[in-house]
């Protein structure tokens, strides 16, 4: 039987070579479909890796805030979506500090303020936080200019892109002095324009250290707190406990929420996953079209070779032999196309990702498309399957041909 298969293979191969240009066009169809799938998987994997590596360093962090907290639905908008007049209390903070496993609690204060520059005045929302929380919150966002504030700095402020370039007639530059609620502060850094890469939009932000915030506003309204834990594995139960403790303090089951960054990561990854699935489903349409192409080519080939099929039957080929010859032909076409498509996909995904990066879709971040063994194996098995499925009908038609065709005079 093995020797037989080699003959069938030989016949199929010779036939493909005989009809070279048609075969190449047919397998190009498959190549394009496989290319689309391989490059989409590669880009999706690359994005997963990029997002995971950006966020996984923060997996020991819990963000506690009034209201619904971070979720994928208000992601990219300002996360502080709670009611304006409700705040965490000092008691909440000290209760959280007492929960076993909690390493550090940094409250984040916020409220309204008046910002003056060059004689103009604008109302802004002010945020005060510790410098290490600043690093967590804004650490992976690019700065347009300047630096984040160190814990030893005094009277320094970070402002958002819009605050610097939109709010006033004159642009604010690093080291310029601004006046907030009558206090002089020096601009230490300006956030780059928000593109979706960070956790919340920083375009309207006015950020300073807790100490300066209290001095400037005379208030200590805690909108949110950032909690770190000792053991990353305990982060979820601790988040639950924090929520419980704070809600109990305020007698409201929905008063505050504690969100772990890993849960944000999970929801980003699941959104990416859905997106990828949809894209791959769309790419699969290309494959369906390609397999119709194979079927068409094969049916034409069957018709053209009516006589040849008859001859083979006359000299003793069984229906099974004939079917095998055509199925192998279909498999050869689609697998060669598939391998071609994998190579195209490797280059294609590089190309697509550099185009994406040139649009700054990655929020200034960067990612490399990942071609895994799994996606290569998947691509080959899909093209194998396409080959078999699309050649079944033509092969069956061929097998049904009568050997009399061989001796019919025309």
């Amino acid at each position: 039987m093995k020797k037989m298969l080699r003959d069938h293979f030989n016949l199929s191969y010779k036939n493909i070579r005989e009809r070279m240009s048609r075969s190449i066009l047919t397998l190009l169809g498959i190549a394009v479909g496989i290319m689309a799938i391989v490059s989409l998987i590669a880009i999706g994997e690359g994005m997963n890796v990029a997002v995971s590596s950006e966020l996984s360093t923060l997996s020991d962090t819990i963000i506690v805030q009034v209201g619904e907290g971070f979720s994928i639905f208000n992601f990219g908008q300002n996360g502080n979506s709670g009611l304006d007049d409700e705040y965490l209390t000092e008691r909440d903070i000290s209760d959280i500090e007492r929960i076993p496993g909690v390493k550090d609690v940094s409250p984040q204060l916020s409220g309204a303020g008046i910002l003056s520059f060059n004689g103009e005045t604008v109302g802004v929302s002010l945020t005060g936080m510790d410098s290490d929380i600043m690093k967590v919150q804004y650490g992976f966002e690019d700065l347009d200019s300047g630096d984040l504030i160190d814990s030893g700095d005094q009277n320094k402020v970070l402002i958002g892109y819009d605050v610097a370039y939109d709010y006033f007639d004159a642009n604010i530059a690093v080291d310029d002095m601004v006046i907030i609620n009558g206090n002089k502060l020096q601009v230490h850094g300006i956030f780059a324009e928000f593109t979706g890469g960070g956790l919340t939009s920083s375009d309207d932000a006015v950020v300073m250290l807790t100490r300066d915030y209290k001095k400037v506003t005379g208030e200590s309204n805690i909108k949110s707190a950032t909690v770190t834990v000792y053991n990353v594995n305990e982060v979820d139960p601790i988040a639950d406990e924090i929520e419980q403790v704070v809600n109990e303090n305020h007698g409201d089951d929905d008063f505050a929420s504690a969100t772990t960054l890993s849960s944000i990561l999970d929801s980003i990854l699941s959104i990416l996953g859905i997106l990828q699935t949809v894209l791959i489903a769309i790419a699969s349409i290309a494959l369906i079209v390609a397999s119709i192409g194979i079927m068409n080519t094969m049916l034409t080939s069957v018709m053209e070779r009516t006589r040849e099929i008859g001859i083979m039957k006359a000299i003793g080929a069984t229906n099974k032999d004939i079917m095998l010859i055509f199925i192998i032909e279909g498999i050869l076409l689609s697998v060669i196309g598939g391998i071609f498509g994998i190579f195209l996909g490797m280059f294609g995904s590089q190309g697509i990702s550099s185009i994406l990066l040139s649009f700054e879709m990655g929020g200034g971040g960067t990612f490399e498309p990942v071609i895994s063994i799994v996606s290569i194996v998947l691509a080959i098995s899909v093209s194998l399957l396409v080959g078999v499925l699309s050649s079944l009908y033509p092969a069956w038609r061929a097998a049904q041909m009568s050997p009399i065709e061989a001796v019919r005079y025309e």
């Binding site: 003959d7 005989e18 039957k313």
Partner: protein, 227 residues
């Protein structure tokens, strides 16, 4: 007395239905012995090809039977018929009918492949057969690179490949010049001298005259003609 290789019993083939019915072959009873050299003659449309297709297991009769080596082939499955075709019958067609993508050796070896003969044996036998038909210098040539006469000789080699009991040749010299036709007939007769049964369908009286036995068909009726 040698044994019968082909026996037909009331073999009939009818095409179409009702008014349009065409009786291509009517109640034919013939028996062909091992080593016979038979010419089937008759004008075109007389039923020669129908008889040939039935004897070669390419077609199934409307009524009656064909026995090949005492096996009733009219009741066999497609797969069993394929087996009979590759083991007992060798075809030579008027238009050679070689596979255009395969060279001479591969064409001769193809039928052996379907029969499951191993590659080395096939190569060896294909070369022997091509040498026998005088084509040792043309083994790697494709059909398109061969003359009509040469193609027909490749076809004869292919017909002989599986050592069949019967060679069915349908107008084997119909498409070649006289000289090549003569060569082809000589080869067929040489094979016959070795004990092979040869059945030739022809409308060429000169070819028919060379056969040991003549069957004439007229309007689907077969009659023996004395040589």
């Amino acid at each position: 007395m040698s044994k019968d290789v082909i026996v037909t019993k009331d073999l009939s083939k009818t095409y179409g239905k009702g008014e349009l019915q065409v009786h291509a072959l009517r109640k034919t009873n013939i028996s062909i012995k091992q080593g016979d050299y038979i010419a089937i003659i008759g004008p075109s449309g007389s039923g020669k090809s129908t008889l040939m297709n039935l004897l070669g297991c390419l077609d199934t009769p409307s009524t009656g039977k064909v026995l090949i080596d005492d096996t009733d082939v009219t009741v066999l499955s497609e797969t069993k018929l394929a087996k009979i075709r590759r083991e007992k019958i060798g075809f030579v067609f008027q238009k050679y009918n070689l596979i255009p993508t395969l060279n001479a050796i591969e064409n001769v070896a193809l039928g052996m492949g379907f029969a499951g003969v191993d590659t080395q044996t096939r190569q060896k036998r294909a070369k022997e057969l091509l040498t026998m038909v005088g084509l040792s210098h043309r083994m790697k040539h494709k059909p398109s690179e061969l003359s009509g006469g040469e193609q027909q000789r490749v076809a004869i080699a292919r017909a002989l490949a599986n050592d069949p009991s019967i060679i069915l040749a349908d107008e084997p010299t119909g498409n070649v010049d006289t000289l090549s036709g003569n060569k082809i007939m000589n080869i067929l007769e040489e094979i016959n001298n070795k004990g092979e049964t040869i059945i030739i369908v022809t409308h060429d009286p000169a070819i028919a005259k060379r056969a040991h036995r003549k069957l004439r068909i007229l309007d689907g009726v077969v009659s023996e003609e004395n040589a």
